[in-house]
Amino acid sequence: MRRTTLILIPYLWLLVLFFAPFLIVLKISLSDAALSIPPYTPQLKDGISALIRELDFENFVFLTEDDLYWKAYLSSLRIAFFSTVLTLLVGYPIAYGMAKAPDEWRATLMMLVILPFWTSFLIRVYAWMGILSNEGLLNQMLMWLGITSEPLVILNTTTAVYIGIVYTYLPFMILPIYAALDRLDASLDEAAQDLGCTRTQAFWLVTIPLSKNGIVAGSFLVFIPALGEFVIPSLLGGSGTLMIGKVLWEEFFNNRDWPVASAVAVILLLILILPIVLFQRNQQKQQEAEQ
């Protein structure tokens, strides 16, 4: 009895906070846009039979007809992928440095990684606008140092989106990698050197494979939210950057087309579910193989 209750709690959680909202979005995505409140038909008050009769896949078909959507999906995937790689390249050395730092420094370093979360995300992204704009801090400094004579155009380009995503999601990459490296027995590295590895070889043959779980977890924690990111591309990316989160926002608020917006969201979720499920199955297989 107690076991059933215990198992029930997470399922109830999932049901209320994930599955029910998802069903609502799915239902809207199968509806038609209409001039009403809320702006779609059929609605629940029309009765179950009318509801079932009038639902169709029209919106999903529409998504395949207009190339804006699949281009936005592809562009999002590309931006999410490259920003994940960049975040890994920046985050790994930081996590490594933290794990190797003397004990008395670790709490401070950890604090420094988490500290940005204490300020509003929106304010931090606006701050980047101030840094990256043509008259911004970065360009002023570069010109004062004489590195460039003309201001660099960074704001409202994809580069600014990359900078924003790497900056925002860096802690999500650092923390799992740090956790993996911190668990690593320092004598493993010494043993590798003792058996004839140079420091670099020891790093690639021992440290990297043993922090793989942290790398994979961190990459997913960056890739998944980056794929649906809306605030960063709309504030830093300007009109030239195409990302699905922005398209979704425009469908919803500019066009007031809830059904198409919902269809975009459902597809986005399906795209995200695929790597998550694959990742989970891979982890499970590994665990089974190890037992």
């Binding site: 004598s187 010494e190 058996l195 004839g196 140079t198 043993l210």
Partner: protein
């Protein structure tokens, strides 16, 4: 005896494999090793023994190359190894935690060092199989380290560190994680492997029994200094200081003032109003010099009546009996409150023994039973 005794340290022409020359090691303000000079010879099984923090691990890490020498030099086969990085030293180490790579199989763990040497595939295979056979783990070759027991992991660590046939193998508390029974078995296994491979072993341990069992010579260390280097028997029978006598095994220490009473024989006035004790000593003591007489409990006899054939006898009362199964240790309190430990083998069944708590007893020992120490 047909076999020659292995004792290269007694041969002045023998060149040591390792030579510590006035080695000092400091970590900031803290001095871990003070001006240490020590020779270790080829094929020795050398034990560094001491309490934690005595510098034994630092010495080992200097040999492996993980710590640099602050002053002095360390020679391996005549060459200074100071500037040689750990990966280029003909020295391998077996770590206390074993440090097996968890992501690769036992087979790959053993092959790890061989692969770094760019050996051919056939050579690597042959060597790994040989090592697996040496430690009797052929059946487990394709398991991962977490799929085998602690004792098996210990053997994998040994095989991995021996695979490259190092000139010197360092063992950092190699048996610390094993339970007592397995530890004892493994000690003999270690000795066998050391003999078959002919490798020089340097073992770090805080377990004196382990050091005594496996080592050809033991260095007893304390606070960054080597106090005594000798064979296990010499360390036990002829410790050079109260510290060593006390650290190795159980000992009774009786303090007194020495005065010569014959050739290499001294009378020790240990208490006013009591007959002086007689002890032999090759080390000379001046008249009235303070001396410590160290006697092992098993060299003290305990009896209910005064034995008439011994030179040293005292009366006391049994305070406590520690029954160890094969042995019993009697704690005998002398009239002045000092407690002397005497040990006897339990050759008779417990019910037939005639000494029990509170009994007045005599303890006695011969003149040669103890060692006189000046410090």
């Amino acid at each position: 005896m047909s076999q020659t005794v292995f004792a290269p340290w007694e041969d002045p022409d023998e060149k040591p494999l390792i030579r510590f020359q006035n080695v000092t090691k400091r970590f900031g303000e803290f001095t871990a090793i003070y001006d240490l000079t020590l020779d270790i010879f080829e094929k020795e099984f050398f034990a560094l023994l001491g309490p934690s923090g005595c510098g034994k691990t630092t010495m080992m890490r200097m040999l492996a190359g993980f710590e640099s020498v602050t002053e002095g030099r360390i020679e391996l086969a005549g060459a200074d190894i100071g500037p040689v990085p750990p990966n280029e030293r003909a020295v391998n180490m077996m770590f206390q935690s074993y440090a097996l790579f968890p992501h690769i199989s036992i087979w790959e763990n053993i092959a790890f060092g061989l692969r770094r040497d760019k050996k051919s595939k056939a050579e690597i295979e042959a060597r790994v199989e040989e090592m697996l056979k040496l430690v009797r783990l052929e059946k487990f070759a394709h398991r991962k380290p977490h799929q085998i027991s602690g004792g098996q992991r210990q053997r994998v660590a040994l095989a991995r560190s021996l695979a490259k046939a190092p000139k010197l193998l360092l063992l950092d508390e190699p048996l610390g994680a094993l339970d007592k029974k397995l530890r004892q078995e493994t000690q003999f296994e270690l000795m066998d492997i050391q003999e078959t491979t002919g490798t020089t072993f340097v073992i770090v341990t805080h377990d004196q029994e382990e050091a005594m069992t496996v080592a050809s010579r033991v260095a007893v260390m304390d606070e960054g200094r080597v106090i005594q280097v000798a064979t296990p028997a010499a360390i036990y029978e002829y410790p050079n200081s109260v510290y060593v006598a006390d650290f190795i095994g159980d000992v009774n220490i009786i303090e007194g003032l020495a005065s010569a009473s014959g050739p290499e024989e001294y009378a020790l006035n240990w208490k006013e109003g009591q007959a002086p004790l007689t002890a032999t000593s090759q080390k000379p003591f001046s008249e009235g010099q303070k001396a410590h007489l160290a006697i092992r409990p098993e060299k003290i006899r305990i009896s209910t009546e005064r034995p008439d054939d011994t030179v040293n006898a005292m009366q006391g009362k049994v305070l406590d009996i520690a029954y160890l199964g094969n042995l019993s240790t009697y704690h005998v309190e002398l009239p002045d409150g000092q407690v002397i430990k005497a040990q006897t083998a339990n050759t008779r069944r417990i019910a037939r023994r005639n000494i029990t708590w509170e009994d007045p007893v005599w303890i006695s020992w011969s003149a040669t039973a103890g060692v006189m120490l000046d410090q």
